[in-house]
Amino acid sequence: MKLWDELVRVALVGTERVPLALPPAPGALAPLLDEAAKGPREDALLACAAYVSGWQVAGALPPAPDTLSAAPAAIEGDRPEATPREASLLRAMVAEAPSALTEAFRTLERRGRRVPLALLPELFALAARSRDLRPPLAAAMGAHGAWLAAQRADWRFMLGEVATLDASAWDGDRAQRAIYLRTLREHDAAKARDLVAGCWKAEPAASRRDFLATFEVGLAAADEAFLEAALDDRSKEVRATAADLLGRLAGSAFQGRMAARARARVRIDGKPLGEAPPAATGFLGKLAQRALGAVGAGRTVDFEPPSELSAEDKRDGLESESKQEGKGWRAAALKEIASSTPLDLWTEATGLGIDDFLKAARKSDWRAPLLDGLRAAALAQERADWAEALFASVGMEKILEHELGPIVRLLPPALLSSAAVAAKMSHRSIVFGTEIPAPWPLPMTEALATQAFGVARSVPYWEHWNAALILLVAERGAIAYHAEFAKAATELLQKDTEYRKSLDEALRTYQLRHEFHEEPLP
């Protein structure tokens, strides 16, 4: 405004240097400024400034920018928000027991409600740091949450977790397209396959790998052709993904090739599997075979590696460079063969039961890669019988090997809890606990809690593994066990205990889980 600018100019330079010569003032201001200008120069300047600035401030209207986007439309048909009580408990969990959130989100989803919008900024910040939180949060945040995640660049990662059949997701970033494919595969796998095939040539290796990985959802025979072709991809990661998936596809040619290799190269009692004595028939025959198996000493498992890998071997992913200790690429090859061979081959070809076969395998020079491969196969082929047998055969000292970890999910609850007890030491029990999501079966909860409290009571110093176990029990234990846990923890707190901090936090976590789980009567 010219009037104001002139006033500022004079104030800047000083009234002793320039006179006050103001441009005409609008309406009501004019007589006021005329009157003010009559005084001494400095007073006149200040008085005019007071009038004009007051006039400006009082009369200012904010602009109506046309670049503004409209308010977001209300989202219809979404699940209702969590109740105020649930919201309050969730808030408390964010502040004091974030480990309880995953279970709470699943419960909320089951109840048909969604996480309140107001909590999401904090939760997105948590999920940015903790990957495990993302899928349950994405499932529980509803369409409102998905809308919010799209509003901010550092929240968009959540969109890669939200299952969607909205075709516009195919225009999004790689994570969005991958999640779209995953969701689509559950409803129309052929369409998903066509989309991937359609964009295959143009996509960079990382995208090809991620899109191919989505085939694990509803993996079926119809996928085989595409996966076989992907074994020839120029990217190593894509090839590895294809090999991994084909190895899991029951009845695939790939599995057949691996089985053939197993038959040719694995020896039992010196003879190739393909030539092993057939399964015995008749009562006496079976008895004899069982007797032979039970002796054990005579049964050996061996591996006769090829002198070098053929082109077909390399295509199927049998590495020729290996970082494994010991026998190098040969061991890696055995592992790959074992992980993709249908597990029934071993028992059918040898006529041995699972336990007997594993007994023999454990004595082999090749036991490390063989057992690694068998574990991977048990997991991929979802064979609880093999999982149990492998678990039993390995022995406690091997529990820390991470590859055993995921297998425990296949074990029945009774076995888990007895294993937890048998583990005896907190740092081993924790390996079990970490693999099982909340809530644990009651016997397992009881066993681990009893063990942890026992250590806390009797051992004079603080053991960090035990503190971690106490916290894990509180985070994952059966809800029904809450009262017992609280009682034991409170009793322990009344003594002078080194575990005070862990017990306080554990009590709080378990209490919050218990309260969230309880639904008050309407």
């Binding site: 300047l45 008085a47 009082a58 503004l68």
Partner: protein
């Protein structure tokens, strides 16, 4: 003032909780206390629990032999606990209150035990004594001769200070801001100190603000001129103070640095209403003291009141009103042409209520501010209590946009604004914001009947 029997209002019979657990947590002095308080909100921690009227009490088993005795007067709320903690309220007070809010069925109506009754009685006694002391003090100061002498002395000191300031300010404008900018800070410091000596601390602050404006970056020239004009208005108003209407006279005196005693204000007329507490804003001041602003809007009178109180960290504020609720109270306003600041004369029950809005468009809200400016040119900020207004993103910044598309910049903690944006989904809602004539600072929003403080996390 006549001595009256102070009757602390008490509800008859059991009081169902009118607080929410968020409001209780907001009373905590720091997040660690809030957390500890929650840890003590489980029934297994409390050996005794009871309530009668506004008195809530319990005994909490600690690590020692004897349990801690915790008492709460729900009218304020006020806390008293036998634990050694210096925090206020302590974790036991918070835990007890949370327990009662969450599971009122567990707290039975009962005859208060001796240790509770004694505390209540001593509170009544203290309130009465406070009243008596205030009257004594008023009587002493009411000694007309001494009072008049003191007032006269101050007036002449201020007069001298104002005269010096006028001369000094004219000099600044004569030489120009460009020259003043390169002055060393000593001369400014001297003028400011001189005004403090002249018992005009408000004027001293204005001089310091002008000095800061000179180096305030982009647009400093306009800012400096506005501030200089404001000082000029004040000095001229002082010269003519007798001719000004009464309210404006008080505003001029307040701006110069004259304060009014609380007793005087409380002795004046009070406005009774159900006051909705829109927002609570706590900030740390330079002197290490915490300042609490409570913004209240009267449901019937539609007036805005600002309750200002100060406290050292760890001590409670004088006023405690839970945001998001309406509180029956009598507020006594500091005299002004545009009364805003107030004190609590009496208070009653709180109840849940929808947030009241004063305006539906920015034009109306700014118009209201303009009217206030016309009555009192020394007003420095205003408050918006608006409906149908939304937070919108313009690049990285937030705007407050009304129903006809006008927008003002919204400022504050970024994460806090994002949380408010999330809670409202960027859709029209009720918003309360402070207005400094350039930007709006949202302090609270209400969407779908739920009240949210504009804070990054739901913690003080």
């Amino acid at each position: 003032m006549q001595a009256e029997e102070q009757d602390i209002p008490r509800a008859v019979g059991a009081v169902p909780p009118t607080f929410t657990s968020e409001q209780v947590i907001a009373l905590a002095p720091d997040p660690a206390s809030a957390s500890a308080g929650r840890g003590l909100s489980g029934p297994s921690k409390w050996v005794t629990l009871g309530i009668r009227g506004d008195a809530l009490w319990g005994e909490c088993q600690g690590s020692g032999k004897t349990p801690y005795q915790t008492r709460i007067d729900l009218t304020e709320p006020a806390f008293k606990c036998s634990c050694p903690s210096r925090k206020f309220p302590c974790k036991h007070g918070l835990g007890l209150m949370l327990l009662w809010v969450d599971k009122p069925a567990l707290v039975k109506d009962a005859e208060p035990p001796a240790w509770v009754a004694e505390w209540l009685a001593s509170r009544t006694e203290r309130a009465v004594k406070k009243q008596e002391r205030a009257e004594e003090k008023a009587q002493k100061e009411a000694d007309p001769v001494a009072q008049a002498k003191r007032a006269e002395r101050r007036e002449s000191r201020v007069e001298a200070g104002v005269a010096e300031l006028e001369v000094w300010l004219r000099d600044v404008l004569r030489r120009g801001f460009a020259a003043a900018k390169s002055d060393d800070s000593e001369s400014w410091h001297r003028m400011a100190a001189r005004l403090v000596d002249a018992q005009a601390p408000g004027l001293s602050r204005h001089v310091r603000t002008l000095q800061e404006a000179l180096s305030s970056g982009d647009g400093w020239q306009s800012r400096a001129l506005r501030q200089a004009a404001r000082i000029h208005m004040l000095t001229q108003a002082w010269r003519r103070i007798e001719t000004l209407p009464e309210g404006l006279r008080e505003d001029v005196r307040a701006a110069i640095g004259f304060t009014q005693s609380k007793e005087e204000v409380l002795a004046g007329k009070a406005v009774a209403d159900d006051w909705y507490c829109w927002a609570q804003d706590i900030a740390d001041t330079e002197e290490g003291v915490r300042a609490q602003r409570l913004w209240m809007v009267g449901l019937k009178t539609r007036r805005v009141a600002l309750l200002l109180s100060f406290a050292r960290p760890g001590t409670p504020f004088e006023f405690n009103f839970a945001p998001g609720m309406a509180h029956a109270a009598s507020l006594a306003f500091y005299p002004s042409a545009t009364p805003l600041r107030a004190l609590v004369k009496e208070r009653g029950e709180a109840k849940q209520h929808r947030a009241p809005a004063l305006d539906a468009t920015l034009a109306a809200a700014l118009g209201r501010h303009g009217e206030a400016l016309a009555r009192n040119p020394f007003v420095e900020y205003g408050a918006f209590a608006m409906r149908d207004v939304r937070l919108a993103l313009a690049g990285e910044r937030f705007l407050l946009v009304d129903g006809v598309g006008r927008a003002v910049p919204a400022f504050g903690d970024t994460e806090a604004l994002w949380r408010a944006y999330s809670a409202t989904m960027g859709r029209p809602a009720m918003v309360f914001a402070e207005w400094d004539e350039q930007r709006a600072r949202p302090l609270a929003v209400e969407a779908d009947g739920v009240h949210y403080a504009v804070r990054a996390v739901e913690q003080p």
